[in-house]
């Protein structure tokens, strides 16, 4: 508390990101030239890279299939992570089963890579309900729509775990745009002040819908925000799965060892429009998009593994087949819209209020009158009556 104090020196420098985003494999799939990085990032072992490769193949396929399902009207909307699959896969693979993942709407591939049923993972976009899976099952929180809000939940989950002495790590994802929200800063600050095991992963895909990064920040990079909270920031080539696994892996270890939070910025690119409802031609040129094609994360990892002889044609075929299976699951998902309209009232409170019971009864009566053509509730298997579900919390 004495003034003056010295701030700078090695401590501050260690919080600043490496002088350029960490890259381990270059655009052509070769080992990247050595860089000046703040940590020595060894290339992940080959098993992990192979696992990652397979997930990349699946992730790419999920992106294609989901977009196709939107075109067919079977999904309402899909925010694609095409081109960002390396971030998606690394976010899942760097975690242990007891860890938590906090994805956004764009991060279904990460959720699937973590083990979620693909149909469930895409449930919200189908439109039956807001979330298609049980967040507690795989420790994957509900995909967040209000931007940056989920980062605080991630911090809270980590705080609870730390209090109980568990060695859980929480990885929380957001976009470049979300980094402008107040909640982003508050989340980083809480995590740093309480030295919580959270890894914040910004997928900087250069756009927030139509708004380019230059409108989000004037900072040298988003990773430079770390020092202002007293946490290390690091930048990484977001299309380089190996670098992502190395950097996120180090951050997760750091967190698990009690070192506190890290901010990781992955530099990548949103190859498709924001969602199918968006028209990207209105705000960026096709030339710009084309420049990112050679940096494709999947092609790069494949080239690297093939060059080393680690990936054979058989392996690639197996990976493709696994991906096809997931795609088939998605195509066969949602055969029926089996949702009970009275569910509208069931989960608002653990103990439904008298008001909701009245309103449920009103809807039930309407449905019974069968004047709503698609009323599930008016079928013979009438919806069960709304009952209090007991007062216990979980």
């Amino acid at each position: 508390m004495d003034v003056p104090t010295r701030f700078s020196g090695p401590a501050v420098q260690s919080l600043l990101p490496s002088s350029e985003p960490v890259q381990l494999i270059d655009h052509d799939g070769n080992r990247a030239a050595p860089q000046v990085t703040k940590e020595a990032y060894p290339i992940p072992d080959v098993d992990l890279l192979l696992r990652g490769y397979r997930q990349l193949v699946t992730g790419r396929r999920v992106n294609q299939q989901a977009s196709a399902l939107v075109r067919q009207g079977r999904l309402a909307v899909y925010p694609s992570s095409f081109g960002q699959e390396a971030c998606q896969v690394a976010a899942a693979l760097c975690l242990a089963p007891g860890d938590w993942l906090f994805p956004t709407y764009r991060d279904t591939v990460a959720a699937i890579a973590r083990g979620l049923d693909p149909v469930q993972a895409l449930g919200a976009l189908h439109g039956n309900w807001h979330c298609g899976y049980n967040p507690l099952e795989h420790r994957v929180s509900i995909a967040a729509t209000p931007l940056a809000t989920q980062l605080l939940h991630a911090v809270g989950v980590a705080h609870a775990a730390k209090m109980r002495g568990e060695d859980t790590v929480v990885l929380a994802m957001c976009g470049d745009g979300a980094s402008s929200e107040g909640d982003f800063s508050e989340a980083l600050n809480f995590a740093a002040v309480f030295q919580l095991p959270v890894v914040f992963l910004i997928q900087n895909n250069q756009y927030a819908i139509s708004v380019p990064l230059s409108r989000q920040t004037a900072a040298p990079s988003l990773a430079h925000k770390g020092v202002g909270f007293g946490m290390p920031g690091e930048g990484v080539d977001g299309n380089d799965l190996a670098a992502l696994l190395a950097v996120l892996g180090a951050a997760v270890r750091h967190a698990r060892d009690g070192g506190g939070p890290t901010l990781v910025e992955a530099h990548t690119y949103r190859m498709e429009a924001h969602t199918n409802a968006d028209d990207a031609d209105r705000y960026r040129s096709r030339e710009e998009v084309a420049q990112w094609l050679p940096k494709d994360p999947l092609r790069r990892m494949e080239a690297y593994l093939r060059t080393r002889g680690t990936l054979t044609d058989d392996d690639a075929e197996l990976a493709a087949a696994a991906a096809e299976e997931v795609a088939a699951q998605l195509r066969n998902g949602w055969q029926q819209d089996d949702v009970d309209p009275l569910d509208l009232f069931r989960f608002v409170y653990s103990n439904p209020t008298p008001q909701l019971r009245e309103q449920a009864a009103q809807l039930q009566e309407e449905l019974a009158r069968a004047d709503k053509p698609d009323a599930v509730g008016s079928t013979p298997s009438a919806p069960q009556k709304l009952q209090p579900e007991g007062g216990s919390a979980r």
Binding site: Y105, L125, G127, P146, A178, E181, R282, L344
Partner: protein, 361 residues
Amino acid sequence: MTAVSDQRPALADAAEGDATVLTFAGALNLALADALEADPTVLMFGEDVGTLGGVFRVTDGLAKRFGPDRCFDTPLAESGIVGVAIGMAMNGMRPVVEMQFDAFAYPALQQILSHAAKFSNRTRGRVHLPLVIRIPYAGGVGGVEHHSDSSEAYYAHTPGLTVLTPATVQDAYRMLRDAIRWPDPVVFLEPKKLYFAKETVDLGALREDYARDTADRTGSPRYAAIGKAVVARPGTDATLIAYGASVPVALAAAEAAAVEGRSLQVLDVRSLVPFDDETVMAAVRRTGRAVVIAEAPGFASVASEIVARIQERCFHWLAAPVLRVTGFDIPYPAPKLEHYHLPDVDRVLDAVDELQWEEDE
């Protein structure tokens, strides 16, 4: 994140004076353009409102036409957007800002409730904030969660805010222009479901009528619709009171009831704050029966207020309790379930049937 955002307002390029098919979104676009043209202190900003022209295309073409100083994108931060707009309004500008969706205005609520609403009062009227917060609101468009809230009660309950919600293409134009000229902060609620509703209008006449309406004989400013409810359909048996996207529902219900020989009057409140007690009470007294219709959850809502006011002021005129047809007291449902939630013609007619009609009527 909504399936409707690639639709574009069919903004007329027909010559003025001609009859033109104009969408609701197009009328808003026209109002913004005319306001930017008329007053150099007007400017427009928010998320994706510049190059993209807004996810609903309400600001389409404005950045190009008026330049990047008058219509521009900001960092993605709603509290920031409203807070900065307050500062601009303090310093001589008339900012119009867009919140991309209803629920995404919530980060800005502190700025709206504690500052925008209170600044004039705090400073004893020395610092007015001529500021418009445009919010696409309410449902019926298949949006994913957090994209369909009917959030008007939060604003209407807050003293110092003017809260408007148009229900017709012409009102979209008139009321947005009113809002931009109004000296105080306006929360301007745009029913998403109506964005692509169309009317054939005479653009020239619309603008001329509006211009004629902006001042009284002494030159004092006048506003076409602020504080003024309007009878959207005359009727004698009962009054349906609605606003925003519920107005077309009420009109359709009245149409259906007419077939069965019941004459329903439809009132479009339009201006939630200031509220037009005069028109509403006169209408209810004429019919002695009333139903209030709104999409928002009913509990402690604008619909509650309308019911409360009516029974306070028209008690002895009422032949039956004033009923409400509102959204249920639940979070807005997922797309495939929203039609169970939203007030529809059947529910309105059910409520009308319950208005204790005598046997012979």
